[in-house]
């Protein structure tokens, strides 16, 4: 990976083949000396990440209002979900509108394991993640032959099938869902009745992990393959990138973290039912921050979630949910961003230093 530092920031099919010969993806995490501009930029991103993490970790000291803390948890959760969605939708270019399926699977798996079998949440997260990753491979096997809109619509339908089945499956409580029992505060089950601070830190940890994984992906063999598949699948194929396998890997990784987020959400609200964890709106809520912030970028999903989720929550509470005004603002915003700044708001910040892509 000696030449990794000289690889252009923007992914091209040529860059993908250059890394095909690399021994292991892990080698890329230790850029070789002398530090090139690219290596410096990578390091700068890590420093930026650490600073943002530190500042976010101080937020609970300032934000003491229970409602605002709730918004903060949701914002961090959606930052993590959007970052996960970005792996498949942003880097690999496969616009999935069915990620609610994986979110729901994570939420249900963790709930079922805990409520029926007393399995700790942390294991439930991993189990839900693994299950969702497997499911993503099944969905991917069926859908990755499709391109563009055909693919997006197929993913919607897979999620709808999941939703219909959950509504009717007695084993997981059908339409009633699963209620978590009241128990003592515990880090094992992530149940905290009064003080919600632990949720903030766990959600922040989740954002940090997915961000770090994304950072690592950007300069890994997979990262170059995925961007090559996104930019030009035919060219990528002709240069030896296995397009189908690349998409499958991106889908599995993306689904895994989405399900971990779902498991966290289930513990946070202590309750799951089909519409509250697997509805189509979750698929959109995960994708929208990415579009707003900047698709296929490192900071886009976080930036998008930090703007979009508080805006959604505040407009719902101040304008009153259900009267349609919040939907109108939301719709106009989505349409406006898509039409005015389709490469995302992160571009506004990223002019210096060649961008954070």
């Amino acid at each position: 990976m000696d030449q990794s530092g000289s690889i252009p920031v923007t992914a091209t099919a040529a860059a993908a083949t250059a890394t095909t010969t690399a021994a292991t993806p892990d080698a890329s995490t230790t850029p070789a000396a002398p530090p090139s501009a690219y290596a410096q930029q990578r390091r700068r991103q890590l420093v930026q990440g650490a600073i943002v993490l530190l500042l976010a970790a101080l937020l609970p000291l300032v934000v003491t209002n229970a409602y605002l803390r709730n918004v903060l948890v949701l914002t961090l959760l959606y930052a993590a979900l959007a970052q996960s969605w970005n792996i498949l939708g942003g880097y690999c270019g496969q616009v999935s509108l069915g990620h609610a399926l994986y979110f729901g699977v994570g939420a249900y798996a963790a709930s079922k394991l805990f409520v029926d079998h007393g399995v700790v949440l942390w294991f439930g997260m991993l189990a839900g993640g693994a299950l969702a990753a497997l499911l993503a491979l099944v969905v991917g096997y069926a859908c990755f032959r499709l391109k563009g809109h055909y693919f997006s619509i197929a993913t919607i339908l897979f999620a709808e099938i999941g939703l219909t089945l959950m509504h009717n499956w007695e084993y997981v409580g059908a339409a009633t869902g699963i209620q978590w029992p009241f128990g003592p505060d515990s880090w094992w089950t992530l149940q905290f009745a009064r003080d919600k601070t632990p949720y903030i830190y766990v959600a922040l940890g989740l954002v940090a992990v997915v961000w770090l994984v994304t950072w690592w992906i950007e300069d890994s063999r997979w990262g170059y393959w995925w961007r090559a598949v996104k930019d030009n699948p035919e060219a990528a194929q002709s240069l030896g990138v296995t397009v189908f396998r690349s998409k499958m890997a991106a889908a599995a990784l993306s689904a895994f973290f989405t399900a971990v987020g779902g498991a966290f959400y289930a513990a946070f609200v202590s309750y799951v039912d089909p519409d509250s964890v697997m509805h189509f709106r979750f698929s959109l809520l995960m994708a929208l921050p990415v579009v707003l912030g900047g698709i296929g970028t490192l900071w886009g999903p976080v930036l998008g979630a930090a703007l979009l989720i508080p805006l959604t929550e505040f407009s719902r509470s101040y304008l009153g949910g259900g009267n349609g005004l919040d939907l109108m603002i939301y719709g106009a915003l989505v349409m406006g961003v898509a039409l005015i700044k389709p490469d995302g708001l992160v571009r506004v910040f990223a002019k210096r230093g060649g961008g954070s892509r």
Partner: protein
């Protein structure tokens, strides 16, 4: 179930299927014309249903009479959506698919929010229309008049569309633009104008569907979403862009749905359609009449 009951299932599936075809054809037409999936298609249907409801409630026009008015109004909505939103979304070359999805989806959310704000989330239905409560009996099969009317209108609309596309200059320009956008510019066809009219036509067709559905279906701000999902399946099944594929696929979807409803609990009604879609996905990803 005996033969007569199955005949009933078959008949009601066929009637609903013709309506599904009519709901889907505008979506397919627009996709064929310019490779754009309109994620606000369901909201167009919802607007048309509210328009029919409004004309009935305030102008005392029966939806049967109001149909041309609703279709004309929806033509304007479609043309406006193209000129105001979609045309701008087409400018972008990077992330093009993404921009189209989220621009039309944003429009859908905006329309839905506006409907909720203006019309309230209440469920409405047209009470006291001409067709309400009447049934037709055909050889032991009982059919609600409203659904028979809807199916007949659908067949007529498809007939009219066929004539429009084969016998008129506009239809030929539409067909030519579908086939080669670059070449039509050389013979002096303004593709922007064709796109505007194409969106108008697509929306007018879903307007006709909304006007007939309003005679027997409840109306609320989210009503479009459920029909939109069926429309996507219908279009994928018939082949994206294929106008008469939408008709055939609509009928198939209607029959499969009615069959599933007869065999499985009502909550699983949609499952048959999904399974059908998956089967098509595996066997013929381009749909029955589509080109990949």
């Amino acid at each position: 179930m005996n033969a007569a009951a199955w005949l009933q299932v078959l008949a009601s599936g066929l009637l609903m299927g013709l309506v599904y075809g009519l709901v889907a054809v505008g979506l397919s037409l627009i996709f064929g014309l310019m490779d754009v999936v309109n994620f606000a298609h369901g909201e167009f249907l919802m607007l048309a249903m509210y328009a029919a409801f409004g004309l009935f409630a305030f102008a005392h026009l029966d939806p049967v009479i109001a149909l041309p008015l609703v279709a004309a109004a929806m033509f304007g909505v479609g043309a406006l959506a193209y000129a105001g939103v979609v045309r701008h979304a087409l400018r972008f070359k990077t992330n093009a698919g993404m921009v189209q999805i989220f621009a039309t989806f944003g429009l859908a959310t905006l329309i839905q929010g506006a409907a909720q704000y203006l019309f309230s989330p209440d469920y409405r239905s047209i009470k006291g229309g001409w067709l309400e409560g009447r049934t037709l009996e055909l050889g032991g099969v009982f059919l609600p008049s409203a659904q028979v009317y809807a199916a007949v209108v659908s067949v007529l609309a498809f007939g009219g569309l066929y004539l429009l596309m084969t016998r008129t200059d506009f239809g030929r320009a539409l067909e030519a633009t579908r086939e080669d956008k670059g070449a039509v510019a050389l013979v002096g066809i303004d593709s922007n104008r064709v796109f505007t009219l194409g969106w108008g036509l697509g929306a007018a067709l879903v307007g006709v569907a909304g006007a007939v559905l309003a005679t027997f279906y409840y109306i609320h701000p989210q009503v479009g979403a459920s029909f939109a999902l069926i429309a996507y399946v219908t279009v994928a099944l018939g082949g994206f862009g294929s106008v008469f594929g939408a008709l055939a696929a609509g009928v198939i979807v209607g029959l499969v749905e009615a069959g599933t409803a007869a065999l499985l609990p009502p909550a699983l009604k949609a499952l048959g359609i999904y399974v059908l879609y998956l089967a098509v996905l595996f066997l013929r990803p381009q749909g029955l009449f589509g080109k990949l």
